[in-house]
């Protein structure tokens, strides 16, 4: 394949991925809108209270445009979206983007912390498991991983709090704190909780990737050249295995973003996950719609970047 052809293939691949990303985001927006409006519940009642007269409730619904037909409401939603407007919260009386901006920090740090911990824990464990294939440490690492997969995040969070915050008193039980150090301390357990949910997946595929690499000719030749097993493992094998790990992490980011809703709840972090849950409870439609869209866009973007980076690094992917 000439360089030019390769570039064209890459461009066409990028184009297809971008189009798919846009389609997915629009799909999420439509699904969120429909699900939200089909489920019973009335934000006007919640804002006005039980004593509100039906006419007051109707008036507020009219003011919010909720008395129109669902397709008409959806039309307004899309028209506003195209103009970059996500509307204002029924409860906070603040623009949705302002609210998200205020809270997205805690969530973004949580996702980042979880990603770092996930890679930092998976990589050495997978290397160990691969290098001791079918021995006790390999079975232990994989076995514990499978058990880990079966534990729900809220339960893992509670156990971690019991151990690290109540018994050892090393870390705070929850909350975001006021200082940078408190933020870091406060993020450790929630990040670990979120990370633990994807670590088993990462270890398994990383281990499989390493075993594949260990079988390849260049490893055999490295060994033949008399390189130490440690050097073979950490320089030659790990470098080749880290790319699929990052890709896999990228693919699991949706799961990670989703799990922040639960993790924030367990650790009393007031990020967008907590805002989403409260807004669903209150039927604060603009906030739920806006947040779903922002979260979906973030996930789609991360996936897109992962895909493109992987394709850049591994030309075979572009041809799929």
């Amino acid at each position: 394949m000439s360089k030019r052809v390769a570039l064209n293939v890459y461009r066409s691949y990028t184009g297809r991925r971008l189009a798919a990303a846009v389609l997915v985001t629009i799909g999420v927006a439509i699904a969120a809108f429909i699900l939200l409006h089909v489920v019973p519940g009335d934000p006007a009642r919640a804002v006005l209270g039980e004593h509100a007269t039906p006419s007051a409730v109707d008036a507020l619904r009219r003011q919010w445009g909720l008395s129109q037909s669902l397709p008409a409401q959806f039309g307004h939603f899309i028209a506003d979206l195209v103009r970059g407007r996500l509307g204002s919260s029924y409860f906070y009386h603040e623009p949705v983007l302002t609210l998200i901006g205020q809270r997205i920090g805690e969530t973004a740090w949580l996702v980042l912390g979880a990603s770092i911990l996930a890679v930092a824990i998976s990589l050495p464990l997978a290397t160990l498991a691969a290098s001791r294939q079918d021995r006790l440490s390999d079975h232990l690492i994989r076995g514990v991983g499978v058990i880990g997969l079966g534990m729900p995040a809220f339960w893992v969070g509670i156990v971690l709090i019991e151990v690290f915050a109540i018994h050892i008193k090393l870390l705070p039980v929850g909350g975001w704190g006021d200082t940078l150090w408190q933020h870091i301390e406060g993020l450790l357990l929630p990040s670990l909780t979120a990370a633990l949910a994807i670590i088993p997946i990462l270890i398994r595929s990383l281990r499989a990737g390493m075993l594949e690499v260990l079988d390849s000719d260049f490893v055999a030749s490295a060994r033949a050249r008399g390189l130490s097993e440690t050097r073979v493992l950490f320089v030659h094998v790990m470098r080749n295995a880290i790319i699929p790990t990052i890709a896999l992490l990228g693919l699991n980011i949706a799961f990670l973003v989703g799990s922040t809703v639960v993790v924030e709840q367990v650790f009393a972090l007031n990020g967008v996950g907590a805002l989403l849950l409260d807004s669903i409870t209150n039927r604060d439609y603009p906030v739920v719609q806006g947040l779903t869209l922002v979260m979906a866009t973030a996930v789609v973007l991360i996936n897109l970047v992962t895909d493109l980076v992987s394709a850049r690094l591994d030309p075979r992917i572009r041809l799929r």
């Binding site: 489920v39 519940g41 205020q102 039980v173």
Partner: protein, 534 residues
């Protein structure tokens, strides 16, 4: 998802709580006071400070509710109300023992025809920016509330014809004599702001609110966590004792209790009854139950033929063992339900006999109905409220011997509310609540089909005799005559059974042992100016 906070984020018109009412002379003019109020005061369980209050320090209050905005005239959800009531105060408040207590007013005089009330402003009260409180601020604030047609509680001011400032007095002229007026004036929605927002725009004002309350909020960020600072100009000299209160939003009940135990928080709200026993054994924690003006109720949809049948409702009332219910689902924290009105409420008459548990009487009653062999029906509950789901299962089991088969439907709170308000239910469990000290709120909202506004709490119970008595009591000013009217109402509904009273739940709070002087009024409010750290 935390459960009890769902309940709290509902309609909440809550009058403010205040500790240390003894320090303020009760107005001798108080007409709604009675002997029973004194006994209720004696029954108030908690918040009794021991020793001399110490000044300074910060308390972190981990709450299950989050504030979204701070305008008293537009608030109804608990997170908003329990935050803004620290900043803004009304003329009168409800004390922890449930009594109306003079606050920004020192008292009032009423005309003989009960159509003119003159409130005397407390001298020396200043807003947190140092501006003195004037009668014109009161007129402006309550007129603002009255004029707000989206105001969740503006209906409470319907009786007011006009308000005038007269020197240091505020004169209310009513369109008709209205007995609950004194209570209505004490609601947080009638709190006093500086007239014309102190010269600021409405939006700018609520971003950095100015009130007469013990606490001030330098800047409102629409954040779930906020820190209230002591108002140096507070009219109760020397209060608040604390320098600041950090209010954090912790929706997970387990996390709340962990924060309390680890010292990250000193006060937590909404302790689930199932956790009471384990907390009682923790010596670093004080668990306090405050009497509430609440009754958990089973509501019948009387638009359905079988619940229109009085014998069916009576049979169900006989069949439900409320003592067993309280033991199993409230873990002994609540009193077993008898009548609709909680005994903590003035004019609730505990001597009125109700249909107490008896399976044989239940069977005999059902035999007299059009459905002697029972029927199949549905019971709607709000998902996530652990206690109600247990109530539902006990009721299901209790009705089985009657041949009444109950299917339980659990919906998320918003869906549940919309569903019963569309009358799309057979039976549902909810709670009746009084947020102000006057029993009329519960009487009219739950029993007055004609004027109550909710068709007797969406039950469609329609007894013109009851509606008439509720109306009569609204313009009756003699305590003994009013008592007679409410006793009569309670006698009728005890036999009619529009609702089965399941229990009278308390507010359960857990505090660090160091926290002194914390008290909650029966409406659910607390102001924290008397809280100090030992």
């Amino acid at each position: 998802m935390d459960t009890e906070s769902l309940v709290l984020t509902r309609r909440k018109l809550l009058s403010q709580g205040a500790k240390g009412t003894a320090a303020i002379a009760l107005a001798p003019l108080l007409t709604t006071g009675s002997a029973s109020a004194a006994t209720r005061a004696a029954r108030t369980v908690a918040g009794v400070a021991s020793g001399t209050p110490k000044r300074g320090g910060t308390v972190t209050f981990a709450r299950s509710v989050a504030p979204t905005q701070l305008d008293p005239a537009n608030s109804i959800i608990a997170g908003d109300v329990y935050t803004l009531d620290k900043i803004f105060e009304p003329l009168y408040v409800t004390s922890p023992s449930g009594q109306l207590t003079p606050w920004l007013a020192t008292g009032y005089t009423a005309s003989a025809d009960h159509k003119t009330y003159t409130y005397h402003l407390r001298p020396g009260v200043r807003f947190s920016d140092g501006t003195p409180l004037k009668a014109s601020d009161v007129v402006w604030s309550i007129n603002r509330e009255r004029a707000n047609k989206n105001g969740p509680l503006s209906f409470l001011d319907f009786a007011i014809k006009n308000i005038k400032a007269d020197g240091n007095n505020v004169v209310f002229t009513l369109a008709e004599p209205w007995a609950p007026f004194l209570s209505d004036i004490s609601v947080f929605a009638n709190a006093i702001l500086p007239a014309n927002y102190g010269g600021k725009s409405e939006k700018a004002f609520f971003k950095s609110p100015i009130g007469t309350g013990p606490w001030l909020l330098p800047e409102w960020q629409a954040d779930s966590n906020l820190t209230l600072k002591a108002n140096p100009n507070y009219w109760q000299k020397g209060k608040p004792y604390l320098d600041s209160v950090a209010i954090t939003y912790v929706s997970d009940q387990n996390q709340q209790l962990l924060q309390l135990r680890s010292g990250a928080a000193q006060i937590v709200d909404n302790v689930p009854p199932s956790n009471v026993a384990s907390l009682k054994s923790d010596s670093s924690v004080t668990l306090t139950q405050f009497e509430s003006w609440q009754t958990d109720i089973l509501v019948f949809n009387e638009q359905l033929p079988y619940f229109q049948d009085r014998h069916v409702r009576r049979a169900i009332a006989y069949a439900i063992d409320t003592n067993k219910l309280v033991e199993a689902a409230s873990f002994g924290t609540a009193k077993a339900g008898k009548g609709l009105f909680p005994p903590s409420l003035e004019y609730a008459d505990e001597n009125v006999p109700t249909l107490e548990y008896s399976l044989s009487k239940a069977k005999a009653e059902l035999a007299k109905s059009k459905y002697p062999h029972g029927f199949s029906t549905k019971l709607l509950i709000s998902g996530g409220v652990e206690k109600w789901s247990e109530f539902a299962q006990i009721i299901q089991a209790d009705l089985k011997p009657l041949g009444i088969t109950v299917a339980i439907t659990s919906l998320d709170h918003a869906a549940y509310e919309t569903t019963f308000q569309k009358y799309d239910y057979d039976m549902f469990i909810d709670y009746a609540i009084n947020d102000i000290s006057d029993i009329d709120e519960m009487a009219s909202f739950n029993l007055d089909y004609k004027n109550g506004g909710s068709k007797s709490y969406w039950s469609s119970y329609n007894n013109p005799a009851v509606s008439k008595l509720v109306e009569q009591a609204e313009s009756e000013f003699s305590t003994s005559k009013r008592q007679a009217l409410y006793t009569e109402i309670q006698k009728i509904i005890a036999q009619d059974v529009p609702f089965v009273a399941l229990d009278y739940p308390p507010y359960i709070y857990a505090t660090s042992n160091k926290v002194q002087g914390f008290a909650v009024n029966p409406g659910g409010a607390y102001r924290l100016e008397n809280v100090w750290l030992a």
